[in-house]
Amino acid sequence: MLRHGIRNIYLLLFAIVISLSFSWLQSDQGGPKLDEVNTIAITKASFLFQFARSNDWPNDKKQGNFRIGIQGNTALYNLLVEKYAGQSIGSQMLEVVEIDDSVLMSEFIHVLYTESEGDELLQLIEYTAEKPIMVVTSVDADSAMPEGAVVNFVVQTSRIRYELDMENALKRGLIVGNRILSWAITR
């Protein structure tokens, strides 16, 4: 009736275009990629920065750079450098250092994060005892907070939280800020 021939050719071409469209829809290009950044390290880095910012150190430690030292966790060190290096803590420039024994001997560290356990941790705590160093540990969830540490990261309902030993903080001459105190947990 109405231009059958032309219509049929047109419909055939159209069918080819549509089948190509379907295959385009079905191709899974550009799917989301898993972000593999270390989320635990980000969280810990954020806490360490809060510890640095919200506590108070003796006056003689308020000169030079403010140092956060990291022992045994390169990912955490890198994240701190990436995110917070260049920031200031009071009037001090923040410096992030990766800790080995030689660093500990030569420089004062304000916040010292360590993943050491057992004898190695005991040695470290002994070496830093009575110094105004905020020793932050991260031991197994089933273990108690290490003796001599000021702060210990723990996992609680899949979240990173921290416990605080106020007695140790005072022994070391550290004044823990209210904000840090109020968010600390007890086990």
Binding site: L2, L34, T39, S46, Q87
Partner: protein, 318 residues
């Protein structure tokens, strides 16, 4: 002739006259309607579609309301007007959409009337025209996804629904569910890409991503990609929130962000586990589980899937 006989005689004459009048009226209506249709066809064949429609459309609610040819010529004329609009502009302009919508309704009506009795060529011609129109809708779905802009979701889904509606007239047995799943997945992807490209965060775009994947899963419970992609999007959203923490973040905000992240990581876990059950040796799912469990500080489970991943990688290399 008695009075009674006379009354009967008059009665018979009256009934007969009424019958003749009624059949003459019906004949005259049919004749009139066919006449209108033929005139409209002539005009349509000369590509005078507006003129054809001026004649035929008023009749569709009166004398030609049951005339399949009349509905077909009206639908055909609107379809041709739609094609003209596409040629000079776009298939999604207001006028093109209106012409196509009318064409679909009228062609379906033509097919329904014609196929009720002995089908004529009107049925097959209506179906051919509907086939063309259905494909034009599908084409708009694909173009919409390709050139996606914020908030186009409903419009694209409407095109797809129209496509399915027409296809169900053409063949009731056709099942377009798997294509619908693909449309939902494509819309999820389009929204995600938009979310990633915008400098300001948008919860609305993220919600759309999640809703589209959930709908795809609802349509096809066996679709691996929807589940995997849903899990990745939820997980990455949590990571993005964590990454937003900086030196200006207050302690209470840090706690809030951490809570929100853990909630997202927990939500990501179920679809990732479901995807893993569907394809236990798939490396990306195993890697996903290693990562999600690690983010949830569940080292034991993370290590379990890490070992499984290492075993798959080892088996692949052997």
């Amino acid at each position: 002739m008695g009075n009674n006989e006379m009354r009967n005689y008059i009665g018979i004459i009256l009934v007969f006259s009424l019958q003749v009048f009624a059949s003459t009226l019906s004949y005259s209506q049919n004749f009139h309607s066919d006449n209108i249709v033929d005139t409209a066809i002539d005009l349509a064949e000369q590509e005078l579609f507006d003129e054809a429609l001026k004649i035929i459309e008023p009749a569709l609610s009166n004398e030609a309301k049951d005339n399949a040819r009349a509905w077909y010529v009206a639908g055909y004329s609107h379809k041709e007007k739609f094609k003209r609009e596409v040629f000079i502009g776009s298939s999604t302009s207001g006028l093109a959409l209106s012409e196509r919508g009318k064409a679909v309704i009228q062609l379906i009506k033509a097919y329904e009337i014609d196929s009720k009795t002995t089908s004529t060529s009107i049925s097959s011609m209506s179906l051919d025209a509907l086939d063309y129109l259905s494909k034009s809708y599908m084409n708009d779905v694909v173009s919409g996804v390709r050139g996606f802009t914020r908030g186009m979701d409903e419009e694209i889904l409407e095109y797809f629904n129209e496509f399915v509606k027409i296809r169900s007239v053409i063949d009731k047995k056709e099942d377009w569910r798997s294509e619908e799943v693909e449309v939902e997945k494509n819309l999820a992807r389009a929204n995600r890409m938009l979310l990633e490209s915008t400098s300001t965060d948008s919860e609305e775009l993220f919600t759309r991503v999640i809703d589209h994947y959930n709908r795809a899963i609802e349509l096809d419970g066996d679709d691996y990609t929807s589940r995997y992609n849903l899990a990745i999007n939820l997980y990455n959203r949590g990571v993005a929130r964590l990454k937003s923490i900086d030196h200006t973040t207050a302690m209470f905000e840090l706690m809030e962000i951490q809570d929100a992240c853990v909630e997202l990581f927990e939500k990501a876990l179920n679809p990732m586990l479901a995807a893993h059950r569907m394809s236990p040796d798939r490396k990306e799912t195993l890697k996903g589980l290693v990562t999600i469990y690690k983010a949830l500080s569940n080292e034991e489970e993370s290590d379990k899937y890490k070992r499984a991943l290492e075993a798959v990688v080892k088996a692949d290399s052997e």
